[in-house]
């Protein structure tokens, strides 16, 4: 553990040194770095994808546009940019469950989900999601009926994927904002389901 700690300290020091060199050489400014960190921590994240999903749940025309040209429809809500130029939106139904992985690396739709969680980038997920999806889903507490078709999307090109989870039962009277609150990050990767509305 202390070795790990020392190693982390060394990495933090080297990262700081790299930043110092670039700032000293007037190639970057400190506030550019601060601004990018803040943007990815604060502005981008699953709260954006949740708005897209909630809109798709309540507006059939929007849902159609989302399926036809994901990036354009997502852009209608003001989201887009790096790792979101070409977006394919897939829908979970009672018959079909979609799951997204990047076995080669860590491809992930930043504008709608933010930066990927550690497990998404882990060798375990990258190795197993394509080869034993039901076992992986079980780790996330998702048990699907045997007859559900599972479709695993390996993000091998510049295309990025967003899953529209099934709209939960009993959510009929909810507003779009209330619906968005039911949409979890994992449900938009396909390793989770949307939350049940509180009774």
């Amino acid at each position: 553990v202390s070795d790990d700690h020392d190693h982390d300290d060394e990495l933090a020091l080297r990262a700081a040194a790299l930043e110092a060199v670039l700032v000293e050489k007037r190639l970057l400014t400190t506030d550019q770095i601060d601004a990018i960190v803040e943007h990815y921590e604060r502005d981008l994240g699953p709260q954006n994808g949740a708005r897209v999903v909630a809109r798709a749940w309540v507006d059939p025309d929007y849902r159609k546009r989302l399926r036809e040209d994901g990036a354009a429809a997502i852009g209608e809500l003001g989201y887009g940019g790096f790792e979101g130029g070409t977006m394919v939106v897939v829908e979970n139904t009672p018959d079909v469950h979609n799951v997204v992985v990047c076995t080669l690396c860590s491809c992930y739709p930043w504008p709608v989900l933010g930066l990927p969680p550690s497990w998404y980038k882990s060798p375990a997920y990258r190795a197993r999601a394509v080869a034993e999806p039901r076992a992986v889903l079980r780790e996330f507490g998702v048990e699907l009926p045997a007859e559900t078709e599972i479709r695993v999307w390996d993000s091998t090109s510049e295309v990025r994927y967003l899953v529209v989870p099934q709209r939960p039962e009993g959510a009929d009277g909810l507003s779009e904002d209330e619906l968005a609150a039911l949409v979890t990050r994992d449900s938009m990767i396909g390793t989770g389901l949307a939350l049940e509305p509180r009774a």
């Binding site: 080297r14 940019g81 497990w119 375990a124």
Partner: protein, 212 residues
């Protein structure tokens, strides 16, 4: 890594977070800015894959990004090989981080991350939706987007995604070619499984494919 064994469980304590330490997100920002300003060589991702496999697996995710970002800057000649070591020593001796600010540049940098053009339409794709295709057997020496587990296996074209620069030649330098979403059956990829059958879909560049 698709199909490999021995990496254990996916969900572990803390694995829901994007980063564990503040330096990791700063490295992410540095890498992004190196790209935006065009001051590094090549693609960070292709360079990360040059790490010796044992080192790659031992390194943390943003540790690889730190390594690749420095590599890109040195290979481009933006930094000298000893520049970062020099600052490591200065920081160890207690020197303060240099600080520069330019709010307009900061705003522009964030705006730049909002720009991402879609893949252009494929005008003359060789394969059509419904065609049966096979991923070629190959053993590329460097970066590729054709995972090992799919090579030699036949599937069905499900969509034509558009055209993109062929990524295996040099980062962002190869010719453009169509990209296809190809659906494979789990048993063709991995044999029989007690999970039953499922479908695995990959976006594959035309050069990876032949008529099956």
């Amino acid at each position: 890594m698709g199909g490999m064994h021995g990496f254990g469980v996916v969900v572990t304590p803390g694995s829901g977070r994007a980063a564990e330490h503040p330096w990791e997100l700063r490295v992410f920002a540095l890498s992004t800015l190196v790209g935006i300003h065009g001051i590094g060589a090549g693609s960070g991702r292709a360079i990360r894959e040059e790490m010796p496999p044992a080192d790659y697996l031992a390194a943390g995710y943003y540790e690889r990004w730190l390594w690749s970002t420095e590599q890109r800057l040195v290979r481009r000649g933006t930094l000298g090989e000893r520049d970062v070591d020099g600052w490591v020593e200065r920081l160890r001796r207690g020197e303060k981080m240099p600080r520069r600010e330019d709010p307009e540049a900061a705003r522009h940098a964030v705006e730049a991350t909002g720009q991402a053009p879609p893949l252009p339409r494929a005008d003359r794709p060789r394969f059509a939706v419904g065609d049966r295709v096979r991923a070629r057997r190959m053993r590329p020496a460097g970066h590729t987007r054709c995972p090992r587990y799919v090579r030699g296996v036949a599937g069905v074209v499900e969509m034509v995604r558009g055209v993109d620069v062929f990524p295996d030649i040099g980062p962002y330098e190869g010719p453009e070619e169509p990209v296809y979403a190809v659906a494979f059956t789990s048993s063709d990829l991995f044999g029989s499984s007690d999970e039953g059958a499922w479908t695995v879909l990959l976006d594959l560049y035309e050069s990876y494919l032949e008529q099956a």
